[in-house]
């Protein structure tokens, strides 16, 4: 047992508890906060393993940006978004999937425990050199992938927009959608959203 055991055990324990919390929390906001705790524990594990850059990337991207957006969305759910009772079928399938994943992991570890890389220094410079050296093509391809994802997201969102009329220009279309949110059904919908937002309503 070396002196890294205690921090690793602590981080793993909190990560486990918060992961269970994500599943069991009835209120989505509580689930998101548990997810945040979990993400921070994962970052702590990276940090203990001396992967500074990965740890801070985890905090910066997952804890700092992605989970914030989750929180942004679930905070607006009416009645605090309390879920109804989960159907048994979903629980069973989740247990089966979890067990399968655990078995796969155990099998993978049984075949051969992963060995530490020869030069474990995952410093900024090493990562930068490999990103802009041998890995330059996949790295640049990621940019195209992200662009496609963004365009896809915008396209899906555009499909939900109300049809502005065949002859209307794009300018008129944007005005039309603004007018739509300001008219009576839109306004009451928004009002309802505000009335029901927050934890205890």
């Amino acid at each position: 047992m070396n002196n890294a055991f205690l921090p690793i055990a602590l981080a793993c324990a909190v990560a486990l508890v918060s992961a269970v919390g994500v599943i069991l929390a009835r209120r989505p906001v509580h689930a998101v906060v548990a997810l945040l705790a979990h993400s921070l524990c994962v970052a702590a594990l990276f940090l203990i393993m001396a992967a500074d850059l990965v740890a801070l990337g985890q905090v910066l991207i997952y804890s700092g940006a992605i989970v914030v957006l989750f929180l942004f969305v679930v905070a607006l759910l009416p009645h605090g978004g309390i879920e109804s009772v989960v159907p048994t079928g979903r629980v069973v399938s989740a247990v089966v999937a979890g067990a399968a994943l655990l078995a796969a992991l155990a099998a993978g570890l049984a075949v051969g425990a992963p060995t530490a890389p020869e030069n474990p220094a995952g410093g900024v410079e090493a990562i930068g050199r490999s990103l802009f050296g041998p890995l330059i093509v996949p790295f640049e391809l990621t940019a195209a992938l992200l662009l496609v994802a963004i365009i896809g997201a915008v396209a899906i969102w555009r499909r939900q927009e109300p049809e502005p009329g065949a002859k209307a220009s794009s300018r008129a279309a944007s005005e039309g959608s603004l007018a739509h949110t300001a008219d009576a059904p839109g306004a009451t919908g928004r009002q309802r959203l505000l009335d029901e937002g927050g934890p205890a309503r």
Binding site: D52, V59, S63, G198
Partner: protein, 327 residues
């Protein structure tokens, strides 16, 4: 063991200094803004009103702890703590001065000189938004919720600008460590001369990140009462307040360190130089608050995504090109 003791003592001293500094920042702000508005400001409690922060602290400590009936019992008390934690954590990588040796021990005047210090700074500041959003949601009030949501959208947008503004500095200095950035400036010139666009972007983004005027939309009193902290009182409110002021101090310290050379100066280098440079930025904060009206929400978003983001990308491209061409 001696090292651990030094680390703990140094951290405690810095936290204590931040708390005291924050208290006197409120005094400084009230005095300066009064002068700018042709008033006098707090001058009754102690000499020049210097005991006013103490009186305020005692008042806040002894206020009744009110929890709204609609609040979320679990998250409502945690939110201010998250905000304060993130604010205090961010300061850890700021180098206050050169390493001093006393009694055969080397004492660096910095909590931790991480090799990835700049990223740590961004990560810590990105966690602060949780205090605001969770506080806004858990209060169970519309104003709080809207303030919290505004905070989330604003901070996520401006974090990007903050990161972009720092990339130029990283390219010029070749390091993510704040200690080495100071050394790089000691060898050449303060980076405000090499990265003027980066400096302006950093200041705008940092003021938006700290929710200060003219970017104080999450607590716009004309629309949202007090935004995310409407339902908070006493010490819980004070924790949000302390977090905001500690963030201002951190931003001033980081701006001084990255763009003005930090503690380094051509003569008598040391922590006092950092202090003087920080005062300049803290004065700027107060000056802006007294001068500029608050932005409208759409203006805020257009400024970030439409103006600052392209400017930041161009700045990085030009910086990279110049650095490569000059070798």
């Amino acid at each position: 063991m001696a090292e651990l003791t030094i680390d703990v003592v140094r951290s405690l001293v810095i936290i204590l200094a931040l708390m005291t500094g924050m208290a006197y920042m409120t005094w400084f702000e009230r005095r300066v803004i009064s002068r700018l508005q042709v008033r006098i400001g707090p001058n009754k409690v102690g000499w020049f009103g210097l005991l006013q922060p103490l009186a305020d602290a005692i008042k806040l400590f002894f206020k009744e702890d009110v929890v709204p009936s609609t609040a979320d019992r679990l998250l409502y008390p945690i939110a201010p703590a998250i905000a304060l934690f993130a604010a205090l954590a961010a300061f850890a990588v700021v180098p206050l001065g050169p390493t001093i040796s006393a009694g055969g021990l080397e004492i660096p005047l910095q909590v931790a000189d991480l090799p990835v210090g700049l990223l740590y700074l961004l990560a810590a500041s990105s966690l602060g938004v949780y205090g605001l959003v969770i506080g806004g949601w858990s209060s169970g009030s519309k104003y709080s919720l809207l303030g919290g949501l505004r905070a989330a959208a604003q901070l996520v947008s401006y974090e990007l600008i903050l990161g972009l503004s720092l990339v130029g500095v990283v390219i010029v200095s070749g390091s993510l460590s704040l200690g080495q950035i100071v050394e790089a400036q000691a060898r050449s010139v303060p980076f405000i001369l090499l990265q003027p666009v980066g400096f302006v972007l950093f200041m705008i983004a940092a003021i938006a990140e700290t929710n200060r005027a003219p970017f104080d939309l999450p607590e716009a009193e004309t629309e949202l009462v007090a935004g995310y902290h409407t339902e908070y009182g006493g010490m819980r409110f004070a924790m949000f307040f302390i977090a905001e002021y500690v963030n201002m101090i951190t931003v001033s310290a980081v701006a001084s360190t990255i763009f003005l050379g930090g503690w380094w100066a051509p003569f008598f280098p040391g922590p006092h130089w950092l202090f003087i440079k920080m005062l300049l930025f803290l004065f700027l904060y107060v000056w802006l608050r007294a001068t500029l009206p608050r932005l409208r929400y759409d203006q805020l978003m257009r400024l970030s995504w439409g103006v600052l983001l392209p400017l930041g990308l161009v700045n990085i491209a030009v910086t990279a090109l110049v650095v490569v061409l000059l070798g």
